[in-house]
């Protein structure tokens, strides 16, 4: 069972969502690579799960709530101490929009 191949358009769409700039060289290379990676995970579909109950958690716990307590947190100086660039107490990052 093999997945259909990724197209360039699909890769471009994924790149846009991930805010990645791909070069045209990458754009021609990646569809094949990603198809290979995805096909590799197809090995999972060989497992027999017909008798396995569907779940999205493994602890069987429910309604685990934290106490609503107020406590001290990092100071602004500590929080910003590893930032490359800061301004007025903010992390300064490259333009987003």
């Amino acid at each position: 069972m093999s997945r259909k191949k990724f197209t360039k358009d699909e890769i471009q769409h994924l790149a846009d969502l991930s805010m990645l700039n791909l070069s045209s060289e990458e754009l021609s290379k990646i569809p094949d690579q990603l198809t290979t990676v995805l096909n590799y995970t197809e090995v999972l579909s060989e497992a027999d799960v017909s008798n396995t109950e569907e779940t999205d958690q493994v602890t069987s716990l429910d309604t685990v709530l934290a106490e609503d307590n107020v406590h001290d947190s990092l100071s602004q100086d500590d929080a910003l101490s590893n930032a490359k660039e800061t301004q007025d107490g903010y992390f300064k990052v490259p333009k987003v929009f």
Partner: protein, 401 residues
């Protein structure tokens, strides 16, 4: 979010199929779900600034059905949401501080091209295509909601009338220039790539839990208002003042506990008048006020039964505010209103003789001059004279002269 994904209840919301009344209009609420707040970003020309203070904190997102038709309706809705949130005490809901946010989705459709069915705006026929919606972010006040919607309505209408097309996008409100600017093109739901969060076990909300919360909720504002206005006969302006701050109103409710319904109006007048005045003028808030249930009710009852004048009641409330040792019983006895006509007539007679000018004025038709005489009688009786009887006596004596 620095962990690069956001946890959301998505299609398993805490609340669904609710509504909120704004005046006569009912706005249906599709759902309220919990999700993680994200970092706050400020976009400069050359770079962006990030504030992670709220990143990862839980927030509640409320989604209405597409039933709000005007900017004014959206404005009223937001105000109602804010006052309700404040009333039940879950947040100050200050939009400037980001404690409450509003992201209106606006779409403009041609008249007769659509219908509202099962909670959805649908094209009336296959030939008709609906215009996409535009989401507005970055609204820092309730009045900005109205302005941004009005602007966006005009922008979209102009665009369409000039033969243009509306792009499904997210636009940011620029409060300085009062315009919306393009931020990003809206992603499709599939692009979000939702998947179950295995690290958070399910939350099961049992009926008992809901009941416990219901019992701890304050009465709905509409119910309280109708109690105050219809049952106690309090003027709506006074009720506004009473209900302006839910915490103050709650304190007031404690203060009137057990009081006769007829006296509640007097209590409301004293609380929103002299008491609020002294709260505003002094360093002492209502929380630390000397005005406590027992003494407050004594003053209210004395005023309600006309034992003391409203001026004396005002004085007692204000003195009690800063001094809860005040001996209210004694003071009420001392300052009992004088309603004895014979006793008052002597005083009135004296004041009239001593003040010929205002008497002359009244005789010449300047009726408001009576205030001077009443004031003098009050001064003479240390504020204890029943003002209605004094007025009656002054008029009687002057007319008979």
């Amino acid at each position: 979010l620095p962990k690069a994904y956001q946890i959301s209840q998505y299609d398993k919301p805490i609340c669904y199929d609710g509504y909120l009344d704004i005046g006569e209009t009912k706005i249906n609420i599709q759902r309220i779900h919990q999700e993680e707040d994200v970092a706050k970003m400020i976009h400069m020309n050359e770079y962006s600034l990030v504030d992670y203070n709220k990143s990862g904190l839980p927030l509640l997102e409320m989604v209405t059905y597409p039933e709000i038709r005007t900017a004014d309706e959206a404005y009223d809705f937001a105000r109602k949401v804010r006052s309700t949130i404040r009333r039940i005490g879950i947040s100050d809901a200050d939009m400037e501080k980001g404690q409450m946010r509003c992201e209106p989705n606006i779409s403009v459709q041609e008249k007769g091209s659509w219908e509202y069915k099962d909670g959805e705006i649908l094209p009336i026929s296959n030939e008709k295509k609906l215009n996409p919606k535009v989401e507005i972010k970055n609204l820092a006040s309730i009045s900005a909601i109205r302005k941004a919607i009005q602007y966006e309505f005009k922008r979209q209408t102009n665009e369409l009338e000039n033969g243009g097309e509306i792009l499904q996008e997210t636009r940011g409100w620029d409060p300085v220039n009062e315009v919306t600017v393009h931020q990003r093109t809206k992603e499709e739901a599939a692009d979000y790539r939702y998947f179950p969060e295995p690290d958070i076990p399910p939350i099961i909300i049992k009926k008992g839990w809901i009941k416990k919360i219901q019992q701890s909720m304050p009465a709905k504002a509409e119910d309280r208002r109708s109690f105050y206005e219809d049952e106690c006969g309090i003027k709506s302006k006074t009720v506004d003042s009473l209900m302006e701050d839910p915490a103050f109103e709650q304190r007031f409710e404690e203060l009137i506990e057990g009081l006769d319904k007829e006296a509640v109006s007097t209590a409301a007048g004293l609380a929103t008048g002299p008491w609020k005045e002294v709260i505003n003028d002094s360093e002492t808030g209502y929380e630390e006020s000397g005005v406590e249930v027992n003494k407050f009710q004594k003053i209210v009852n004395a005023a309600h039964e006309n034992k003391i004048t409203s001026n004396i009641a005002k004085e007692l409330i204000q003195r009690l505010h800063t001094n809860n040792e005040l001996k209210i019983d004694e003071l009420i006895n001392q300052k009992q209103q004088i309603s004895d006509k014979d006793e008052l007539e002597q005083v009135v007679q004296k004041i009239i003789e001593e003040n010929p000018q205002p008497v002359e004025d009244i005789k010449n038709g300047k009726k408001q001059a009576i205030g001077v005489l009443i004031g003098q009688v009050m001064k003479e009786t240390k504020g204890k004279a029943n003002p209605e009887i004094v007025t009656e006596l002054i008029n009687k004596i002057i007319t008979n002269e």
